[in-house]
């Protein structure tokens, strides 16, 4: 049984992606028997190409995606190069997990509350600095260039890439490389860029690609912070999918394939960019320049890193304040009074949505954990480690844009008569939860001293006993962290819940995003905060439980 688990995991993870792409290809070519269409026909592509907003939507997807990825990577590189190992870096690391667990939609709402013309920044600087007595008529959020959307993505992708970089640093002997560079007269940032970065980038390349693919095709953040006329291609695909006219599903399917091609092209271009940067880097290495700009770069790095962290933390604070705000006139920095009325009004709704959220997240994460533990144990027993090709397969569901295969998956499910709803939503969440649980747990699992298993075995314990009585308890902390990551990923899923749930599965995320168009900040505050708490709670438990269970076991303290 155990040796079949890796294959089963692969099917569970890749199967829906391939099925979804297939499910998009057929309707895109005019084949949708449910709507009485059998094709083949290129009408869907013709309609798509005739859509007046296409050019702008494509440009928006590419510019926001590439810009958000490049900026996030730049900030992470500057912060790590200039500050890793310092107290400031430690402080940043400590707020990393909570920031990382904040769902994209909640962070986007919070950012909108912060930077909107009537947002906190405007209130704090008005009227004494700006002279504004009323919110100015400025298009700060939902701007046509997608800058607010890019900022929203950057605040969420920086912690993700930073976490990946921290994991990579452990494998590239950063201290030795940096020390060598410094004894050769290089300043900190230049030494890091020349001696550590190439090795680190090799390790974080796939996560960077994930950020690019995600940023180019994100839906919830784009619906909250992105432009509306026209929206990004991914948002438009979702709109077409929700159109009462079934024929528009064909256009959505064609759009999904176009989204895939667009992301693949962007990934190809990014790869070419990597080659170009590597060539420039090699030339720079040979110049022997020691870096005169290092002090300035360090300041820029920590400034941008702190700004990114502060934006998310302030965004959360903004959600909290709005959730309890009474009357709040512009330009007052705080409401006239704080009240629980908003919570009384929206509380029952959020609790229902929270129950659904935890049901879906719990089931998806539980299934993911069983599969991941099975795969890792099979890997341990067979002695076969994950190859680079295997790692690519693991990242595949994260590299293929959600908007490229989820519409097809929904169409496929409906056309084969399968019901949409909670069950399929759990399986759809599993596609995204699985890779993160695997990536989160894999390193800790492999770093476990195998001599423990040898000793237990020579003491007469069969493999199953070693697994349950030795390995699992010793790895309780990383297992719970992986569960927390899985729950956070599931809590944040918008598109799979919306499309595969057929609108019948109401989680905190779908409810929060649905509130975006209404603009009721108090309701958004309540839902956004609940969404964040739902993602944070498992992280808190993952920290507290092992500390409690192993309070008398010093060898397991961190």
């Amino acid at each position: 049984m155990l040796r079949h688990l890796p294959l089963l995991t692969l099917v569970v993870m890749i199967g829906p992606v391939l099925a979804g792409l297939w499910g998009a290809l057929l309707p895109a070519l005019g084949h949708l028997p449910g709507a009485g269409l059998t094709g083949p026909s290129f009408d869907a592509f013709r309609t798509l190409l005739a859509w007046p907003g296409l050019e702008q939507a494509l440009r928006l997807s590419v510019t926001t995606g590439v810009l958000a990825t490049a900026l996030s990577l730049l900030i992470v590189v500057l912060v790590t190069a200039g500050w890793s190992g310092t107290r400031a870096f430690g402080a940043l690391q400590r707020v990393l997990a909570p920031i990382l667990s904040v769902p994209h939609a909640a962070a986007a709402f919070g950012l909108a509350f912060l930077i909107a013309p009537s947002g906190w920044l405007a209130r704090l600087t008005s009227p004494w600095l700006t002279g504004w007595a009323r919110p100015p008529d400025l298009l700060v959020i939902q701007d046509p260039a997608g800058l607010a959307m890019t900022a929203g993505l950057v605040t969420k992708e920086v912690p993700f890439l930073l976490l990946m970089t921290l994991a990579a640093l452990g494998q590239v002997r950063q201290d030795q490389r940096l020390q060598t560079a410094r004894t050769l007269g290089y300043d900190r940032v230049t030494g890091w860029l020349k001696c550590v970065f190439p090795a680190v980038y090799r390790q974080i390349r796939l996560p960077v690609y994930v950020v690019l693919a995600y940023s180019m095709s994100v839906v919830d953040v784009a619906m909250i912070l992105g432009p509306t006329r026209p929206p990004s291609l991914s948002v438009q695909i979702v709109k077409w999918m929700g159109d009462p006219d079934l024929a528009m599903r064909l256009v959505a399917a064609a759009g999904a394939l176009l989204q895939l091609v667009l992301v693949l092209l962007a990934l190809g271009l990014w790869r070419l960019g990597e080659v170009g940067v590597a060539r420039l880097g090699r030339n720079w290495l040979e110049t022997g320049r020691r870096g005169r700009l290092d002090p300035a770069l360090r300041l820029v790095g920590i400034g941008l890193g702190a700004l990114s962290a502060a934006a998310t933390l302030l965004a959360l604070l903004g959600l909290a304040v709005w959730s309890a705000a009474g009357f709040w006139a512009f330009p007052d920095a705080l409401p006239d009074a704080f009240t629980m009325r908003n919570w009384h009004r929206h509380g029952p709704g959020t609790l229902e949505a929270a129950a659904e959220t935890f049901l879906v997240a719990g089931a998806a994460t539980g299934l993911a954990l069983v599969l991941v533990l099975g795969c890792l144990e099979a890997e341990h027993r067979s002695g076969r480690t994950l190859t680079t090709r295997g790692l690519w397969l693991l990242y595949l569901p994260l590299l293929v844009p959600q908007t490229a295969f989820l519409p097809g998956l929904q169409i496929l499910l409906l056309s084969v008569g399968a019901d949409v709803g909670r069950g399929p939503v759990i399986l759809a969440h599993l596609v995204f939860v699985l890779p993160y649980v695997f990536l989160s747990l894999g390193d800790a699992w492999r770093a476990w001293d195998p001599r423990n298993a040898v000793v237990a075995g020579t003491l007469g314990a069969p493999p199953w006993r070693v697994f349950w009585q030795v390995r699992l308890p010793m790895l309780l902390r990383p297992i719970l962290t992986a569960v927390a990551v899985g729950v956070a990923v599931s809590v944040g899923q918008y598109l799979p819940t919306l499309l595969i749930g057929g609108g019948r599965v109401a989680t905190l995320t779908t409810e929060a995003v649905a509130l975006a168009s209404g603009g009721d900040r108090r309701a958004i505050g309540v839902y956004g905060l609940m969404q964040t708490l739902a993602a944070l709670l498992p992280f808190a438990l993952a920290t507290l439980l092992p500390a409690l269970v192993w309070r008398n076991r010093r060898g397991l303290h961190v």
Binding site: V454, V455, G460, M474, R554, G555
Partner: protein, 211 residues
């Protein structure tokens, strides 16, 4: 129980290159020492004997315990105990639970606890059953590890640089304790070390590799 441990024409290769070869017999209560610097394949040989050789290696030859071929048996059915240089006490279990883990199943809870307490008293660690392994000194941890192996009733004992992390005084004590207890139980002992003093103290045959 008196068993003979035999390594019969054992040859371990890595990508076609021979890592280590061994063809020897260890009588009950005897110690065979394999000496050599790091990287000559000493620990790899022990992994072959315990049945935990990595896939990268290819091995031929047999491991016999009192004439019975145990080469194809899984580690938990070989009855071959091992001690490493590091403390491999399971950190989530108390000292007593670590010992009980190694004991053969059977008996009531009270009987097993009594057996653990008696065994701890035998090595001068009376009342240590509830202790956290992380609070033990190096010497105490080494004694508990030895006791855990012996309670699992092995038919042969392997020592993988088992004394190299102990300071000089404790090293002599623990070494004597291990060899005495192994001799008392008529266990064949296969020790790998890079330390000439350990080899000398074992008092048995010495095979030196990789000079």
């Amino acid at each position: 129980m008196s068993d003979v441990l035999t390594l019969e024409q054992v040859c371990i290769t890595d990508g076609g290159q021979t890592v280590i070869e061994a063809d020897c017999t260890i009588a009950p209560g005897d110690v065979l020492t394999i000496m050599g610097p790091s990287g000559v394949g000493k620990s790899t040989l022990l992994a072959f004997v315990t049945g935990t050789l990595k896939r990268a290696f290819t091995a031929t030859g047999r491991v016999l315990l009192d004439g019975a071929d145990i080469t194809a048996l899984p580690p938990h059915r070989r009855q071959v105990g091992i001690l490493y240089q590091d403390d491999i006490l399971f950190p989530h279990m108390s000292v007593g639970q670590n010992l009980a883990f190694g004991m053969a199943p059977g008996g009531t809870r009270a009987e097993r606890r009594a057996a653990v307490s008696a065994a701890l008293a035998e090595i001068g660690l009376e009342g240590f059953a509830h202790r956290d392994p992380a609070t033990l000194s190096g010497g105490q941890a080494a004694r508990v590890q030895l006791l855990r192996v012996l309670l699992s009733q092995p038919r042969a004992l392997l020592l993988d640089e088992a004394f190299s992390r102990l300071d000089t005084e404790r090293r002599t004590q623990i070494r004597r304790l291990v060899f005495d207890m192994a001799r008392d139980r008529d266990l064949p002992v296969l020790m790998v070390t890079h330390d000439a003093e350990d080899a000398k103290a074992a008092g048995g045959r010495i095979i030196t590799l990789g000079d």
